[in-house]
């Protein structure tokens, strides 16, 4: 920040922050506080009055089998998405970093899935895996497995993991490639002179030097899998079959808008807010270190 204020104006700075602050207060902070408030209230059957019930909704959701199921689904889903998209992106980035000729072309051809909307990413893989016309499903059938994400819980989960990971690969690829290109060539050359094979060089030199990027991407991918994939799941499996792909954000929406359970949905919102806060804090503490590095 500038040491002394370059401009003295009493009203102007307030006018300048006003639009941002107004939107923040009305549509972010007020709803968040409201969720906390509603999560401690129980409405009567007609929605006319409500009474304070303390932590009852929180206790209720953690005793609710469908909530713990969503919790497990979210854990499986975000682990799957993060592992698959990070692994594939790292592989592609390492290869692109090796290739001298055509690296830029590969980059251009790999980054566009970032622009595909989560809903559309879901729908197009939904077609590819569709058990009655899908090409991928057809080949899986030939291999001897009867693929059907419409009735099999595990297939449905694999479908949404795959679609979500596909969309995130381009983002991870860009950051991995930038990270790889920032590693000093001299280090790799020194290792090569010492007789380390390319494979060994990767694990002992390159991968450790890449760890800040990997950690950063890990957090970003978890946040992505938790919150940005609502559309992808809602537009395809819609949480089914039988709730097997219902994640936490999907459940907040379903219980709130479809089930009209205000208190329960609000309690779920609050739990999710705590999770994002924790993740954001981790992300920002890391960014501080990245500056030093």
């Amino acid at each position: 920040m500038h040491q002394s204020s370059p401009f003295n104006h009493r009203l102007l700075p307030y006018l300048l922050v006003l639009p941002q602050i107004a939107v923040t207060l009305a549509f972010f902070i007020w709803p968040a506080l409201n969720a906390v408030w509603l999560s401690t209230r129980q409405e009567d059957a007609f929605g006319l009055s409500s009474e304070f019930v303390g932590l009852e909704h929180y206790i209720a959701i953690f005793h609710d089998g469908t909530y713990t199921r969503a919790l497990v689904n979210t854990a499986v889903f975000s682990t799957g998405v993060t592992v698959v998209s990070l692994a594939l992106a790292l592989l592609l980035a390492v290869m692109a970093d090796r290739v001298v000729r055509g690296a830029m072309v590969y980059k251009t051809l790999l980054i566009w899935p970032y622009a595909v909307a989560p809903a559309v990413a879901g729908v197009i893989w939904w077609l590819a895996f569709n058990p009655s016309i899908g090409v991928v499903a057809y080949f899986i059938n030939i291999l001897g497995y009867d693929w059907n994400h419409l009735i099999k819980a595990r297939d449905a989960m694999m479908l949404v993991i795959f679609a979500a990971a596909w969309k995130q690969i381009s983002y991870n690829f860009l950051f991995f490639l930038a990270g790889l290109q920032a590693i000093p060539r001299s280090l790799i050359e020194a290792a090569a002179l010492d007789g380390a094979s390319p494979f060994r060089r990767f694990w002992t030199v390159i991968f450790p030097l890449l760890s800040p990027t990997t950690f950063f991407l890990l957090v970003v991918n978890i946040i992505y899998a938790f919150f940005d994939t609502f559309a992808l799941i809602h537009a395809t499996t819609a949480g089914g079959p039988a709730g097997s792909t219902e994640t936490l954000v999907l459940k907040v929406f379903m219980d709130g808008f479809v089930g009209l359970d205000l208190g329960g949905s609000s309690a779920q919102s609050v739990v999710l807010m705590v999770m994002v806060m924790a993740l954001t804090v981790v992300q920002f503490r890391f960014v501080e270190r990245k500056v030093q590095y």
Partner: protein, 282 residues
């Protein structure tokens, strides 16, 4: 290259080509499906080569829409998506750049408080607080309006931080010189800061346009008026047609049209896009 190992380079190309194939494959299927008539898409597996109904399908969907899903023409949905995406991108940039300007160039009571309030928005994605946000939007009478689709989403910590970081790198001498020349705060902002921020604004615009175009949940809950359908809620409506397999040919034509604008933006403005992506994560 550190050493010459031709077979490794070959492997690298093979892996990359496989990667490209996996990446492009579903989009190819989508395109193929969008060029066949509905009855061709009942065989297992579906055809792998484009059919002859490209113009039919796209014509139908663009100008009259899918009957099963309310029959809104997709041209209208694309128009709505464009308005929403532009509104969100421009809105976020506009309110963030002036907020960052105030925070960097002025000393005033509550400055830190405002800064932290803006920071808080990072931790409150719309999916998490959907019910109460819907409620306040309804209370403000913004349901079924473009303002309702746009305004609640335009607060941006990321954009504010980006501009703040950038302003902090601008030498103080520049401000002093401007002041000696008699420029007031508004003049300085308009004639010095804004032109200097041009690249940042463009990079941010690319990212935010994509963000706005791809919005799904918010339009789904704030607008029930068919004339406000965006392309994403339109896709949802066509997927959700009860008790039947979706009309794949129309659904896939719609998906193609939904993908095209943001992909074009990324490919054409690749440099700005990469810059925006990297900058916003700092």
């Amino acid at each position: 290259m550190v050493e010459n190992r031709p077979w490794l380079t070959v492997i690298a190309h093979v892996v990359l080509l496989l990667g490209l194939l996996i990446t492009a494959f579903p989009v190819w299927l989508t395109f193929v499906a969008s060029t066949h008539e509905g009855t061709a898409l009942t065989q297992f597996p579906m055809p792998l080569w484009p059919g002859s109904h490209f113009l039919d399908n796209y014509g139908t969907i663009l100008f009259s829409g899918a009957k099963a899903a309310g029959g809104q023409p997709v041209l209208l949905m694309l128009g709505n998506s464009l308005i929403v995406a532009l509104g969100i991108a421009v809105g976020k940039i506009a309110i963030s750049i002036i907020a960052a300007y105030a925070i960097v160039y002025f000393r005033f009571p509550l400055r830190q408080t405002f800064f932290w309030m803006i920071f808080m928005t990072l931790m409150l994605p719309v999916e998490v607080r959907i019910m109460p946000t819907f409620e306040i939007t309804a209370n403000l009478g913004l349901l079924n309006s473009y303002s309702g689709l746009i305004v609640p989403l335009i607060a941006s910590a990321t954009a504010t931080f980006l501009f703040r970081q950038f302003f902090l790198t601008i030498p103080v001498e520049l401000v002093e010189a401007a002041r000696l020349d008699g420029a007031g705060p508004i003049r300085f902002f308009r004639d010095v800061l804004l032109p200097l921020s041009r690249t940042n604004i463009a990079a941010l615009f690319v990212i935010l346009f994509i963000y706005g175009w791809n919005q799904y949940l918010w339009p789904l809950v704030v607008s029930t008026d068919p004339s406000l359908t965006t392309i994403m809620t339109g896709i949802n409506a066509l997927v959700r047609v009860p008790d039947s397999e979706p009309q794949w040919h129309l659904l896939m034509a719609m998906s193609m049209l939904a993908m095209l604008p943001p992909i074009l933006v990324v490919v054409v403005m690749q440099k700005l896009f990469v810059r925006g992506l990297v900058e916003t994560e700092k």
